[in-house]
Symmetry: C2
Subunit: 455 residues, 2 copies
């Protein structure tokens, strides 16, 4: 049912560079990202009647100011529009914001430009769910197939899926939807942990963490690899020892290798029985991933990727080529829920399991909604599917994700769980927030540079 | 021979948003870019001794301010470094500027981030050629294979070409190099024209332009297509009528189509015997291009693409998959000369013809150097290879390209031909240049928005 347009004219789009000083703790480091300050560009979209939607895209610190400026440059596509009109023909709006005739040159549909689109679109979806007084997953699950599909731009993907096929796939799964929603409300959705094996952890720390997460009910454990094979083997062995033979190990190279190196390295780790290798090489190398997947299939190792996959066209090829056995959609890199829905539909059609990427800032909060919708309305299964879980940065949100007994519990508040608590912007806005001013003054961090001062 | 380090510490990196009001004329329009203002982010790198290098990346207007801010954010990787040290281990510097542990998240190696890298790297190559007192093509052609290859980061491409293979390929072409350089100096390099068939041109205008370019000696004519099949057929027929059966027609869809649509549309245009279809679909769709190429092969139509190809990893796959029969390297989208050299080497290994993309701002000036080097030192052939030529924006450069009798004449001044004439920045810097202030005052263009005011 279309929203009443009254008061829904968008009058303001605010954007902030928000950074958390996670590099001080040394957590979150991997083969290529050695000192991230988990950050985000945080967008607040406000209507004439004072309704607000909150959206973000995750970043690693430096460069967030560039996303912020890009959001400002994209305001022209939103301010003055009526939110109800946008939602009523969302695919057209999506095409406009991603394909401005001048700005598309600096993308198109990738990198900085697409991260900015993600933050804006996430705020609009949050607004829509709030206006409907539903958590986002429920807004999506309650939509008629035609309405859901009307939010998606099918350009460039019709060779894999058409609008009509997508509608039919959703219709086919109508039966049992209410029962599946009940299952989600009762039991939640399975999670895995990434916190047992960051690079450089000692055996003792690895074992201590394995015990902790085992006792919390986790059955799947992910370990970072890719800098030093001997160290990787040691940490993975420690994890395997601790979790036993009946639990699952995954490894993540964060793009450290060339194609042949990935194959050799993983053959060496194969005795420890990882079920997937995540990001073995360049996130742009579809054919390389397919080569790696083929070589590792005899070892029972699948390839997982997606957190840096640029857009639906890249996902399409990973799914078509056999380069991706686990599809790790990200809630904040590709162009918002609209484009992510297209990826879910292609993955379902091509029978690839979706296991969302999370962690960072707000990613766990967002992806749970998407995976809930998938179970309720599309794939109708949780078999071999899990949502990544990292226990960081949840304390900043008004509606933080809740993981009990290694399962994401149903988010129940209206929206996309993307709103920061009062005070977060005052403290962590970069560089003028009170925490940053203090840390810079104390010499913990250098002063912002010329580019960062545009914030 | 390493440069003397004296005075080569880089003390300043300036960047300007420079826009030319080309949308007023309606030239340069295509299926997806309907009103471009040909623009660039223009970088000037200055050493302690006052030596300067000039580099740019081409843009279409809005959004250039975002590239400008990104260049500022990347100054930290350059200012204070000695240029001689950078050139002596250029691949390491390239890795640093493209893979900063925090900033790589907002790329990596694509979109805004990579366009900024291109502008910076182009300024460094211009500086290097000036320091050696050679045009860039000659600097490259005179390098020992080991030195040339030392500028390239081979990560992610070793499954197609290794450093050792690249060195051997260059060694194999040493003989005859001086003779080929003499041929270039005497006869130049063949060009084709894109100016006979922009969308919306009338039959009369098309015929008039064909006659003009025929009389200038052109044998290859490119026409924009993709909005309306009937109109495309009409304009292409007019071109074919005018140029006769012995000249060559190419068509360019600028990403307008989905995969199947591209195939059907081109079958309809096949009777007019185009030799290539350029950018039939999403620039990210390697597998889609391969499908199109296979379907069109029986019609004698090859696929051309590259101007929006994000990086060497994407080029690698286009070259591997048969999705690209004509490799259209761009001098300002991927990470500077370093990464372009990697693409040339892969194309040579996989026997794909390189026909550079040009036009815009400064692209003709730059790509001529690259194609000259290719003929002198790598492919050693001009067969079926051409450089695009568009007669626009050359008047702003101190060393504009010269095309005589449909051939690019050898650029002879030291550098990469990327320096603007005095006065260009004063007039065309956006939004504060005198021309822009005047045009905005006259109501020809709206006032700059909030984002653009950071310039």
């Amino acid at each position: 049912m279309p929203l009443n347009k009254n008061g829904l004219k968008i009058v303001q789009v605010d954007v902030k560079d928000v950074r958390f000083p996670t590099s001080l703790g040394g957590h979150g480091s991997d083969a290529l990202h050695t000192d991230p300050n988990y950050s985000c560009a945080y967008v607040t979209t406000t209507t004439e009647s004072g309704k607000r939607g909150f959206g973000l895209t995750f970043t690693c610190g430096r460069g967030t100011e560039i996303i912020v400026l890009t959001v400002r440059a994209m305001k022209r596509f939103i301010v003055g529009r009526n939110a109800a009109d946008i939602f009523a023909d969302f695919a057209t709006f999506w095409r406009q914001i991603t394909n401005d005739s001048q700005m598309r040159w600096i993308g198109p549909e990738k990198g900085v430009a697409h991260l900015a689109v993600a933050a804006i679109l996430n705020s609009l979806w949050d607004l829509w769910a709030r206006l409907e007084n539903k958590p986002l997953w429920r807004l999506l699950a309650d939509m008629e197939p035609e309405e859901l599909v009307s939010t998606i731009d099918f350009r460039y993907i019709t060779d894999v899926i058409t609008k009509e096929e997508a509608i039919q796939m959703l219709r086919d799964k109508r039966s049992g939807k209410e029962q599946r929603i009940k299952t989600l409300l009762d039991k939640g959705y399975p999670a895995y942990t990434t916190q047992v094996g960051w690079l450089g952890y000692s055996d003792e720390l690895v074992e201590q963490l394995c015990k902790k997460y085992l006792s919390m009910g986790f059955t799947h454990f992910k370990v970072k690899v890719g800098l030093n094979l001997e160290d990787d083997y040691r940490r993975c062995s420690a994890v395997r020892r601790c979790i036993g033979d009946d639990k699952y190990l995954m490894v993540d190279a964060n793009q450290a290798w060339s194609v042949n190196e990935a194959i050799e390295w993983m053959k060496a780790l194969a005795p420890l029985r990882p079920i997937w290798i995540e990001e073995p090489t360049s996130p742009d190398d579809v054919l390389g991933h397919a080569t790696i997947a083929k070589a590792l299939e005899p070892y029972g190792i699948g390839v997982a990727t997606g957190e840096m996959c640029a857009n639906r066209v890249m996902f399409k090829q990973f799914l078509q080529s056999g380069g991706m056995q686990y599809c790790q959609i990200d809630s904040a890199r590709i162009g918002g829920v609209n484009e992510i829905l297209a990826v879910y539909l292609m993955a379902e059609k091509l029978k690839v399991k979706v296991c969302p990427h999370a962690g960072g800032v707000g990613l766990c909060e967002m992806v749970q909604h998407l995976q809930y919708w998938d179970y309720a309305a599309l794939s109708a299964t949780m078999d071999d599917r899990l949502i990544e879980y990292v226990d960081q940065q949840h304390e900043h949100f008004t509606d933080p994700c809740v993981v009990n007994n290694a399962r994401y519990m149903a988010p129940m508040k209206p929206g996309y769980s993307t709103q920061f608590l009062p005070g977060v912007l005052e403290k962590f806005s970069y560089p003028h927030g009170t925490k940053w001013q203090k840390m810079i003054k104390e010499g913990l961090f250098p002063a912002p540079d010329e580019a960062e001062l545009v914030n």
